[in-house]
C-alpha cells in the first residue's frame, strides 16, 4: 500500500465509523441497561484518559514525571472548587516549572 493509499483508506474508515454511530437504529439507546452503560461510559473513558496521559510515555512505557505532580495539583484545585480553566493552566505551569528546574 502506498503512503497516499494508507492515508486515504485510514481516513475513510475513520469517517465511516463515526457516521455509523449516527445511522444505527435509535432503539439501540433505549432500555435500562443501555442507559446505565451510557451513564458510566464517560466516567470510565475520562478516568482512563487521565491515567494514560499522566503516567505513560508516547511509546506506552510507564513513567513518573512532572505530569504526575501537575495532575496532583490539579486534583487539589478541583477539590477546592477552582474553575476549569484555572485547573488546566495551573497544571501546565506546574509541569513547565518542574521541567525548567530539571525535574521530570
Amino acid at each position: 500500500m502506498s503512503l497516499w493509499a494508507t492515508v486515504l483508506v485510514a481516513s475513510v474508515l475513520a469517517l465511516a465509523l463515526k457516521y455509523l454511530g449516527y445511522v444505527v437504529p435509535a432503539s439501540w439507546l433505549e432500555g435500562e441497561r443501555t442507559s446505565r452503560i451510557t451513564s458510566a461510559l464517560p466516567i470510565a473513558l475520562l478516568a482512563a484518559l487521565v491515567g494514560v496521559n499522566t503516567f505513560t510515555t508516547g511509546g506506552g512505557g510507564l513513567v513518573l514525571d512532572a505530569r504526575a505532580a501537575a495532575v496532583a495539583v490539579a486534583l487539589v484545585a478541583l477539590a477546592l472548587r477552582a474553575p476549569f480553566i484555572i485547573v488546566v493552566v495551573l497544571a501546565a505551569v506546574v509541569a513547565a516549572a518542574l521541567r525548567a528546574v530539571g525535574i521530570g
Binding site: 475513520a14 469517517l15 470510565a44
Partner: protein, 234 residues
C-alpha cells in the same frame, strides 16, 4: 461552558504541533499530514498511524488496522450524542466528522439539550480549527519549535480530562468505575498499542459498573441534575 470548550480545544489543539512534527519525521509529506488532520481527525488514530508508518511501508496494513480500531470508540460516541444533537443530512455528516473524545465529553456533561448541542459544536469546531492549524505549524517548523512538553501542555491535557471527570465522581460506584478504568489503562499501556488501553479499560469498567448496579443499586437517571449544574458552572 464555552470557556470549558475553549480550554479543551486549546489544550488538545496544542498537541497538533507534535503530531505535525512526528508525521513529517515519519516520512509523510506536509499534504498527507494535513489530510490526516482534516479528514481522519482523531488524535489517537493519527498518532498510531504515523507512528507505525515510521517503521516502513510494510507496516501499512497494521497502521490502518490500529488506526481503525482506535476510531471504533467514535462510533459509541456517535450513538451517545446523536439523540441529543438531532441532526439530519449535511449537518449529520458534519456532526459525525466532529465526533471525537473532547466534543462528546463536553456534550454529555451538559445539563440540558441546548447546552449539550452548543458544547458539542463549540468544542468540535474549536478542536478542529486548532488541531489543523497546529498540525500545519508542526509540519512546517518541525522540531525546531521545541518540545511542547517544555510548556507543560501534556500535563494540561491530563488536567483537562480530570476537570471533566471530577463533577461525575459523586457516588461510590462512579469512583470505583473511574479507579478501575484508570488502573487498567495504565497497567495495559506497556503491552498494547497506543489508545487500546483506554478502550479496554472502558469496557472492563462498564462490565463492572453494569454488574454492580444491577445487583446493588437502583438504575441511575440518565442525567444527574446536581452534577450537571456543577459541570456547567466553570
Amino acid at each position: 461552558m464555552l470557556r470549558q470548550s475553549l480550554s479543551v480545544a486549546a489544550a488538545t489543539g496544542a498537541y497538533g504541533i507534535s503530531f505535525g512534527a512526528l508525521s513529517v519525521a515519519s516520512g509523510l509529506s506536509l499534504l498527507q499530514t494535513q489530510v490526516l488532520s482534516l479528514v481522519l481527525f482523531s488524535g489517537g488514530s493519527q498518532f498510531a498511524l504515523v507512528g507505525i508508518m515510521a517503521g516502513g511501508p510494510a507496516g501499512a496494513g497494521a497502521a490502518v488496522a490500529t488506526s481503525t480500531l482506535l476510531g471504533a470508540r467514535n462510533t459509541l460516541y456517535g450513538l451517545q450524542v446523536s439523540g441529543m444533537l438531532g441532526v439530519r443530512g449535511l449537518r449529520r455528516l458534519a456532526a459525525a466528522h466532529l465526533t471525537i473524545d473532547e466534543s462528546t465529553a463536553v456534550c454529555v456533561a451538559q445539563p440540558e439539550t441546548r447546552a449539550a448541542r452548543l458544547g458539542f459544536w463549540a468544542t468540535g469546531a474549536g478542536v478542529f480549527l486548532l488541531w489543523n492549524l497546529m498540525t500545519l505549524v508542526g509540519s512546517v517548523i518541525g522540531n525546531a519549535l521545541g518540545d511542547p512538553r517544555r510548556y507543560g501542555l501534556d500535563a494540561a491535557a491530563a488536567a483537562a480530562f480530570a476537570g471533566l471527570l471530577w463533577p461525575r465522581l459523586k457516588s461510590v460506584d462512579a469512583l470505583a468505575i473511574a479507579c478501575l478504568a484508570a488502573v487498567v489503562a495504565v497497567v495495559l499501556a506497556p503491552h498494547a498499542p497506543a489508545g487500546v488501553p483506554v478502550l479496554v479499560a472502558a469496557l472492563a469498567a462498564l462490565l463492572a459498573g453494569v454488574w454492580r448496579r444491577a445487583h446493588h443499586d437502583p438504575a441511575p437517571p440518565h442525567h444527574w441534575p446536581e452534577e450537571d449544574v456543577e459541570v456547567a458552572k466553570p
